[in-house]
């Protein structure tokens, strides 16, 4: 059977977007329509006249992805074609929780029956690794660079899943491309649950984060194993499941493999920053009962 996302795309070697999209389509199956905003995924898969998609695909703009998806859903409903076909909006963190915030909020509030998959690689990778609202604390990006008087990004990640829970979404979940079975199961569940559902997939970017192309999956796992990226499910607003991490690894194990955190190991005071990052992981353990 031919893959639903075809080879020949221009993603970097070791691309997280391709993996996330591949898992999403494996879960959704061929009877789906993919809506995608401007970003790496769209650029690398659809250079005219080529497309990597073996499912119907539409890209409009950067900030309107969920609105376009709601229009697709409305069209199918109006024409009596809605039912089996799954509608999946798939976008990066910038398109989802920064510039597309209004659009996704509106679509979820209106209750369209679709699934939004956020491929979170924690910065604007398509434009050259600029900071987004999903960039983690103390990460160095091209617009939040570490420097003589800066440890990089000064704010923690925006808690997008919580925002989607607050919209009354029946199913909100976090996942990671480092856990294919987890991600495929959750996307499958998300597309099967009626109403607007949200899957937030942590997706390490080799180019933006600065690690070897072979380490995409390994780094993704480390984020989960250090409890910096908890895997949990929220159903009708309640926490129903969280992946246990019996022996959490120290955050250094995750940080030291990435160029974007390199300064924490070389700058004076970097150890204090690492302690703060460890505190974020510890807070996740507490909040989601990871141990």
């Amino acid at each position: 059977m031919k893959p639903l996302l075809q080879a020949g795309h221009r993603g970097c070697a070791g691309c997280c977007d391709a993996i996330a999209a591949k898992f999403t389509l494996m879960a959704a199956g061929e009877d789906c329509i993919v809506v995608s905003p401007t970003g790496c995924l769209e650029v690398m898969t659809t250079p005219y006249p080529e497309s990597s998609w073996n499912v119907p695909f539409i890209h409009s703009l950067f900030e309107n992805n969920a609105a376009v998806a709601s229009g697709v859903e409305a069209a199918l409903k109006a024409k009596g074609e809605f039912g089996k076909t799954k509608i999946i909006a798939m976008g990066g963190d910038g398109a989802t929780l920064d510039i597309g915030m209004r659009s996704i909020s509106g679509a979820f509030e209106r209750g369209h029956d679709f699934t939004y998959v956020c491929i979170d690689n924690e910065a604007y990778m398509n434009t050259g690794v600029q900071r987004s609202g999903a960039t983690p604390f103390a990460a160095s990006t091209t617009t939040s660079p570490a420097g003589k008087v800066s440890f990089g990004n000064i704010r923690p990640k925006k808690n997008m899943p919580a925002i989607m829970v607050a919209h009354g979404s029946p199913y909100v979940t976090t996942t990671s491309i480092g856990y294919p079975k987890d991600m495929i199961r959750k996307v499958k569940k998300a597309v099967d649950v009626e109403g607007p559902t949200y899957v937030h997939a942590h997706s390490p970017c080799t180019t933006g984060w600065g690690f070897d192309t072979s380490k995409t999956i390994e780094i993704a796992k480390l984020a989960v194993e250090t409890c910096l990226w908890p895997l949990y499910e929220m159903e009708d607003g309640e926490l129903t499941k969280a992946k246990k991490i019996k022996n959490p690894k120290p955050v250094e194990d995750y940080l030291k493999m990435q160029r974007r955190f390199k300064h924490l190991f070389t700058m004076e005071g970097g150890d204090e920053m690492i302690k703060k990052i460890q505190a974020l992981a510890d807070a996740n353990i507490e909040k989601f009962g990871l141990q």
Partner: protein, 86 residues
Amino acid sequence: MTITLGGVCEPGSTLVNKTGGWRTFRPVFDYDKCIKCKLCELLCPDMSVDARDDGFFEFNYDFCKGCGICANECPTDAIEMVLEEK
């Protein structure tokens, strides 16, 4: 090629773009070690690990970019990354 209305594209048509040329290291299977776990196929970002009839896999070097995720994740170290020689 003439431009389609609004730039509509045919499905799966990036197959004309042979990304194998990007590769610096090529993955090579050691079938003696392979346990057919399918992880390499699952994790490949470039859909370049193809199943064979005998349950083993082979690389599609037309598209493999040589990222090495398969070798890094292989539970039995059955994949070696070998420097491409011109």
